[in-house]
């Protein structure tokens, strides 16, 4: 049966056109997905990937072109219809109904009642090798658990075509491993999967076919083996932007960093305890760990967003007691939050409001928009933010550009110590390289940088020194021989083998 299925087409997109206003986003995209195929889909910011996925799953209607799922054409845009035909989109940011139970969240929109589906869901959870309390209120779920809810939604619908939109961006390596095993099992059952990711290493591990989108058109498509990483990155980003590939930015040559900027002594708070560390001027300190290790809680406490239960923090030797975000900003300690949609940006506000939002308390009572605009323009040029102008609203930008705006907001406060929490989450390869280069440049200018990341490759690439947090405590420190394996060993506790 499997052999029989493997031959058929799971999804077929033919000559899809779409434009928002006068701007064409998709210019005649055609893609084919076979049954039992894991098809990687890559593209830079604004390449049209997410629009394409929305069209395929019936959320948005195309201007022209046709969509076939399992050989049946999708007559008009309707998510319900697309799901009936066997397609499910697992979005990057999980859609959660906070007031309902986890089980109701998974089963919403299905004909059988949640109670009738419970057995099936429990079985799927066991197969996925995850723990999930079906009766908990969904609002209490962590990001990773929310993602699992989304994947379960797809599985319980017995989808024949799954679209996974950056499914691993919030998962721990262990969970990624479990997800990949599940994907392989689905693949063997003949399910076709579109796998959207920015991580080439993961794509190499799980995908057989690749398509690259750029500026609304497919620029590369075929079996993955036939392309090198360089070719793929090249196809994705370069020609249009014109910049040369930066690749890995050089680490600091001299190890003798500047004076100690930030020193944290035995800081304890919600989700972590007894964290002591120092960061020197001109140093990038990697703060690694898996999701739930307490890194975000630590940095939010550092920045005065949460209450500490013990310990002290000193900046340039002066103790920072009773920290509040404003006091931290004024002292030169600036935090870039993990979730840019929720905590980072004012999405409806114009871009220049965002840039100056960390400084707003220092501006005169009567604001001078001209100055704010020129401040934004400065960052726009130096970081290459793609936008129509300083008055555009932040939500109109793609992920990578939003992240750059967020960076410019942090930099506008002229930080001495900059804490970056997952600065490249949901950012494409090109923008990611820009951000890496920027981080190195900041360090070279004497800023002390703390880089928090679950992506151990990123830490290996950028950090001069690494501290690892595990289960709310310091798990160890690496000063030389920083490698993904060494970090992973510490992050999971010495006893466990990393699956990365």
């Amino acid at each position: 049966m499997t052999a029989d299925l493997a031959a058929g087409s799971a999804a077929q997109l033919t000559n899809i056109w779409k434009s928002y206003g006068p701007v064409p986003v998709l210019k005649g995209v055609s893609l084919a997905l076979q049954q039992g195929e894991v098809h990687a889909l890559l593209g830079g910011n604004g390449a049209g990937k997410s629009t394409l996925m929305k069209i395929m799953s019936g959320l948005v209607s195309a201007n022209a072109g046709s969509i076939e799922i399992n050989g049946v054409p999708l007559p008009h845009a309707s998510p319900a219809l697309a799901q009936q035909l066997g397609l499910y989109l697992v979005p990057q940011e999980a859609h959660i109904l906070g007031n309902q139970s986890v089980l109701e969240n998974i089963c919403l929109g299905l004909r059988p009642s949640p109670r009738a589906l419970r057995k099936r869901v429990e079985q799927l959870i066991a197969e996925l090798a995850v723990t999930l309390d079906l009766d908990a209120q969904a609002a209490t779920l962590e990001i990773a658990e929310r993602q699992i809810v989304e994947i379960l939604r797809g599985l319980v619908r017995e989808a024949r075509v799954l679209i996974l939109d950056e499914p691993t961006s919030a998962l721990t390596p262990f969970e990624v491993h479990a997800l990949f095993q599940r994907v392989r099992k689905l693949q063997a059952q003949g399910v076709g999967i579109f796998f959207i990711s920015h991580k080439l290493r993961e794509i190499r591990e799980i995908c057989g076919t690749i398509s690259v989108l750029r500026d609304g058109a497919v620029v590369l498509s075929g079996p993955l083996d036939t392309y090198s990483d360089a070719e793929i990155i090249d196809a994705m980003s370069r020609v249009t932007t014109g910049a040369a590939p930066t690749g890995a930015p050089a680490k600091r040559s001299g190890t003798g960093a500047g004076p100690v900027r930030l020193s944290v002594r035995k800081l304890s708070g919600e989700g972590f305890r007894d964290i002591s560390l120092e960061v020197r001027a001109g140093e990038v300190l990697g703060l690694a760990g898996v999701v739930g290790a307490g890194r975000t809680e630590f940095s939010e406490t550092l920045f005065g967003l949460r209450r500490q239960s013990g310990g002290s923090v000193a900046l340039d030797g002066v103790e920072l007691a009773n920290r509040s975000p404003r006091r931290c900003i004024d002292a030169g300690l600036v935090y870039l939050p993990e979730d840019r949609q929720q905590n980072g940006l004012f999405l409806d506000a114009p871009l220049y409001w965002n840039t100056s939002s960390y400084l707003i308390h220092r501006l005169p009572f009567l604001l001078r928009p001209g100055h704010e605009r020129s401040l934004f323009d400065k960052f726009r040029q130096s970081m290459g933010i793609k936008c129509t102008g300083p008055g555009q609203s932040a939500k109109a930008l793609s992920g990578g550009n939003q992240q750059k705006v967020l960076m410019s907001k942090c930099l506008s406060a002229a930080p001495k110590v900059l804490v970056l929490d997952e600065p490249t989450r949901g950012v494409d390869v090109a923008a990611r390289n820009d951000i890496y280069a920027l981080i190195r440049k900041l360090a070279a200018d004497g800023v002390a940088v703390i880089l928090i990341s679950s992506d151990f490759d990123e830490i290996e690439l950028l950090a001069d020194r690494v501290v690892v947090m595990a289960f709310g405590q310091l798990g160890g420190e690496l000063t030389e021989n920083i490698s993904v394996d060494a970090i992973a060993r510490l992050a999971f506790g010495a006893g466990e083998q990393a699956h990365a």
């Binding site: 319900a80 109904l97 906070g98 309902q100 004909r111």
Partner: protein, 347 residues
């Protein structure tokens, strides 16, 4: 204990109400009687229905402030057609149809033309009242036929056919919201519109239906109003929409949509009405009604907010206690234990 209070607004309201009633029973002997209960129930019918309709709309994360005007407009339709010689059943049908049409216009504006519900229904609040005034020439509708007024008459146990209708509608709404798929969609749409859309819930149809149902409820409330009072003033139903919103809030319906129960709304409406009747009994001037109702609403909400805050803090403390307890080399087993504890903490 705290959890029970916070999760169960109905219980809390009932407790407060019971305490208040007992106190009143001591202060004014004769208050605690079947007659008082029957008066309170029949006095609350209009508010009950308007609140029920408003709840359906609020569940979907919209708001309807036009229900008072819909009440007036449909009552006027009823009265004018009756006085023009139309038979009672037909006139009632016309009245309900008027309400549904008015609700449908609201739904059209909000769900399909994407006008924010507060703006759209503020507009129709004026519009419907205006239509009513134009139709009636600003005059009160009097001399309503006897058979309409008879509907408010008792059929035993101090209950009228109107009361039975309202109770029936509440039971219907309860079954609809709790036991049907489409009813569950109301909660889903209000909780997270994007998620609902993504999962194939017909978001717009749900919103539209909520407004139509709200209009129908307001129309039936208009019928009850006319039957009970016996005439229709040109300001009939004025201001009841705000009272209905207060009832919803008091009854534990989240104004952000997605949570609330029919039982909560029912209890809260009875509660607010019983305050009015208690004041009458205590011979406190009627000017105090609004003041006291407002003060009680604030006190209940304040208490509720504090309790919720306390519970949140406890859940947080328990969640983070997990980390403090974890042993040093807690590998996979530590992690699983972690999850189990988290699940427990969030329960």
């Amino acid at each position: 204990m705290l959890n029970i209070v916070a999760r169960n607004r109905v219980l809390m309201l009932l407790a407060v109400m019971a305490a208040a009633c007992l106190a009143l029973g001591f202060a004014a002997p004769g208050y605690l009687s079947a007659a008082t209960a029957s008066v309170i129930l029949s006095n609350s019918l209009v508010l009950l229905l308007i609140s029920l309709g408003t709840m359906l709309v609020i569940l979907t994360r919209n708001i309807d402030v036009s229900s008072g005007s819909i009440l007036g407009l449909s009552a006027a339709t009823l009265g004018m057609s009756l006085n023009a010689g139309v038979s009672l059943p037909l006139a009632i049908a016309l009245c309900v149809l008027t309400g549904m049409a008015a609700g449908a216009l609201n739904g059209l504006l909000v769900a399909y033309l994407r006008i924010p519900s507060i703006v759209a229904t503020l507009g129709t609040l004026g519009l419907y009242r205006g239509i009513m005034l134009i139709q009636t020439g600003g005059r009160w509708i009097e001399d309503l036929p006897q058979n309409l007024k008879a509907l408010a008459g008792g059929i035993g146990f101090g209950i009228s056919i109107l009361t039975v209708t309202v109770l029936g509608l509440f039971i219907l709404a309860w079954i609809f919201l709790r036991r049907t798929r489409f009813g569950r969609y109301f909660y889903a749409v209000g909780d997270n519109r994007d998620a609902a859309h993504h999962l194939g819930v017909p978001v717009r149809r749900v919103q539209f239906t909520a407004f139509v149902a709200s209009g129908a409820c307001a129309a039936i409330a208009g019928l009850i109003f006319a039957a009970q009072i016996g005439f229709i003033p040109n300001q009939a139903g004025n201001g009841v929409e705000l009272k209905a919103i207060a009832v919803n809030v008091l009854g534990g319906v989240s104004l952000l949509g997605g949570s609330g129960s029919v039982a909560g709304v029912f209890t809260a409406a009875i509660f607010l009405t019983s305050i009015d009747s208690a004041l009458v009994f205590l011979k406190i001037p009627a000017f105090w009604n609004d003041f006291i109702a407002g003060a009680i609403l604030l006190i209940v909400l304040l208490l509720d907010g504090r309790i919720r805050l306390l519970i949140d803090r406890r859940i947080r403390a328990r969640r983070y206690a997990v980390h403090a307890r974890t042993p040093q080399g807690g590998g996979a087993t530590g992690k699983i234990a972690d999850k189990a504890l988290l699940a427990e903490a969030s329960r």
